[in-house]
């Protein structure tokens, strides 16, 4: 490589000026690379936004990025498989970073009945303050109010469930479940709030009551079904959930969301694979144009290449010069493509309204707004793919240029 250093300056000068000898051809290729890079990053951002939304939607349904349960709870989510509310070392751990919020809650299957219909539901006994720290948005209440405390005697149901039960705000409904001794535990409770969720399925499933109110109804003291915990970024959970597990101890089950919902994790993995495939496919198409540009550029300069060889330029330097032209073209394309991607995707991060497709997308756990997510990792991926494939595609014309016989090259008309 040291041999190339003295020539590096002139090689760069030659590469740069040669690139702009046929500026129209170079510009067309440059535009193609810019659009290709932009398309790769845009696609990755949309995919990432879509998968993020699906995962977040899933986590809202779970909810929490890490959950602590009784070891049998996931097989039988009845109140019999409850645990103590957090205390001691676990409480200390939950009140410190990287944990940003946690909630201890009752979560049991139950029946809800109005005077017209009944439905199977998931009954959540919550402390509203804790739920807000976990990401529950009280502004999602479309009628009435959310619970005011763990001892609130009211019930908050979803908008869709209200429709199904043909009930409304202020009406009394009956909820029914089982206590730890498998006796029926029921209570008539007034609907004090109706919430809307991103997914209709959530609105139909989750019914919120005060934690203490439901503990009393189910005949448990300070017991809860689960402790749900959240951090800053669901993608970083793997780095901190073992600390929670350590604080919890072996007698309880501590599970990260990837394990709770394998589908969500496989979606994330699929997204990464898709990104690589699409990026490679887009650039493979582009690489034909790149090879053509370089082959033409070399073909037009055969005599010049012969002259440079005759003057003492080594074959390796000729190859290096052609590759340098490719690197400059790719580098410019990457720079402009990335800038274009940042300029166009960042303003869209506030969300793209896809409500026209929302019903179809709901099946996949998405809401009616798509939030493209511009990530450095996606930009790095497209940059690496473009550079690696671009250089591979440039090797053939570069190698051919370096193989010319100077005499034959100089004699070319």
């Amino acid at each position: 490589m040291a041999d190339y250093q003295p020539a590096a300056g002139i090689l760069f000068t030659l590469a740069w000026r040669n690139l702009w000898r046929n500026h129209r051809r170079t510009l067309i290729m440059l535009i193609a690379i810019v659009i290709g890079v932009w398309a790769m990053i845009l696609f990755s951002s949309l995919m990432a936004g879509m998968v993020d939304e699906m995962v977040r939607g899933g986590l809202r349904t779970l909810p929490g990025e890490v959950q602590i349960h009784h070891p049998d709870y996931r097989d039988d989510p009845s109140i019999a498989n409850s645990i103590d509310a957090p205390q001691g070392a676990l409480l200390e751990r939950l009140n410190n970073p990287p944990v940003t919020g946690w909630a201890a809650r009752i979560k049991v299957p139950a029946m809800i009945s109005s005077e017209r219909a009944n439905r199977g539901i998931q009954l959540l006994g919550v402390d509203p303050a804790q739920e807000v720290s976990l990401g529950f948005d009280p502004t999602n209440i479309v009628e009435g109010r959310f619970l005011e405390g763990p001892d609130d005697k009211g019930l908050v149901i979803g908008r869709k469930l209200a429709e199904r039960l043909e009930t409304r705000l202020g009406k009394r409904v009956v909820i029914m479940s089982q206590d730890p001794d498998n006796n029926v535990a029921d209570r008539g409770i007034r609907v004090v709030g109706i919430y809307q969720a991103r997914l209709q399925a959530t609105e139909e499933l989750n019914v919120y009551g005060g934690l203490e109110t439901l503990q009393k109804m189910l005949n448990v003291d300070n017991q809860v079904s689960e402790i749900a915990i959240t951090g800053d970024d669901f993608r970083q959970v793997a780095s901190w959930w073992p600390q929670i597990q350590q604080a919890t101890g072996p007698e309880l089950e501590t599970v990260p969301w990837m394990e709770l919902d394998g589908y969500l994790e496989s979606m994330m993995k699929m997204q990464t694979s898709f990104n690589v495939i699409i990026t490679v496919v887009i650039f493979l198409t582009l690489s034909f144009g790149l090879v053509n540009t370089l082959v033409m550029a070399v073909f037009e300069r055969v005599r010049e290449i012969g002259l440079m060889m005759a003057l003492g330029m080594r074959p390796g330097w000729i190859m290096y010069q052609v590759l340098l032209e490719s690197i400059i073209l790719l580098g410019l394309g990457l720079l402009l493509g990335n800038l274009l991607a940042v300029a166009t995707i960042l303003p869209l991060e506030d969300g793209i309204d896809i409500s026209a497709l929302a019903k179809g997308l709901e099946m996949a756990g998405m809401g009616s707004t798509l939030y493209p997510s511009l990530r450095l990792s996606d930009m790095v991926l497209s940059t690496v793919v473009v550079l690696v494939l671009g250089l591979l595609a440039s090797l053939l014309p570069a190698w051919r240029a370096s193989r010319y016989n100077p005499i034959q090259a100089l004699a070319r008309t």
Partner: protein, 239 residues
């Protein structure tokens, strides 16, 4: 001292079904500081011999020694290094790199050699002055006349101080005045710097200046004529 020694060089080319003899048992010694013309009609083998001397082409058999190097035994990279450091080339046409200015073309060889920027710039400007193109340093080849381009090519050929300059039909595309100016520049460089010049030409204007004239035909040397006097002392002969 012998600058170039060629012994029993043979070279054939295949053109379609025909085998053409490029060099046929050519042996020649050229002394350092001499000014030699290779002449003959097209296809006589003068360019083939010149290319073999410069390591641009390999003979099928025979030995070539330039200075202390056996050219016929060197690999591609070593040949490139030899051309870079020891030999200056001037070709018939397409002598300059079109995207580089006159000064940059002269700097080109020095840049590959790794000469520091300031030093090579000073040298290039000095060379441009020497060939009478001091005001043309920033012009691209397309902005220079044929004669001016050849002068820049000569400046590039000698700027790094080679002991040998090989010129292939350097005046072929030049008008009479430019051709005379160019050959007189060769003569001056030969006399003042002691550079060995080997010029392949069928231009009688050039031959008229040469103390040694080697005539070739069908790949063979048919005459090797030594004329009295140094280059430049000879008067141009009428063509």
């Amino acid at each position: 001292m012998t600058a170039i020694r060629c012994s029993q060089l043979n070279k054939t080319f295949t053109q379609g079904d025909q085998i053409i003899c490029g060099l046929d048992d050519v042996s020649i010694d050229i002394e350092e500081g001499s000014f030699v013309c290779l002449s003959g009609p097209s296809g006589s083998g003068k360019t083939t011999l010149l290319n073999a001397m410069g390591g641009l082409d390999k003979p099928d058999s025979g030995e070539i020694q330039v200075g202390d190097k056996r050219v016929d035994l060197l690999g591609k990279s070593d040949l490139a290094d030899m051309r870079l450091h020891s030999i200056g080339f001037v070709f018939q046409a397409y002598n300059l790199i079109p995207v580089l200015t006159a000064r940059e073309n002269i700097e080109f060889v020095m840049q590959i050699q790794g000469v520091p920027t300031a030093q090579r710039r000073d040298k290039a400007i000095a060379m441009l002055e020497e060939v009478g193109l001091a005001d043309h340093e920033d012009r691209l080849p397309s902005q220079l006349s044929g004669g001016q381009q050849q002068r820049v090519a000569v400046a590039r050929a000698i700027v790094s101080g080679p002991t040998l300059v090989l010129a292939d039909e350097p005046t072929a595309n030049l008008d009479s005045t430019s051709a005379t100016q160019l050959i007189e520049l060769f003569v001056a460089l030969n006399r003042e710097r002691g550079i060995t010049f080997v010029i392949a030409t069928h231009d009688t204007r050039v031959m008229a200046y040469c103390p040694r004239l080697i005539r070739m035909e069908d790949g063979k040397i048919i005459s090797d004529e030594e004329r009295t006097g140094k280059s430049g002392e000879l008067q141009p002969q009428p063509s």
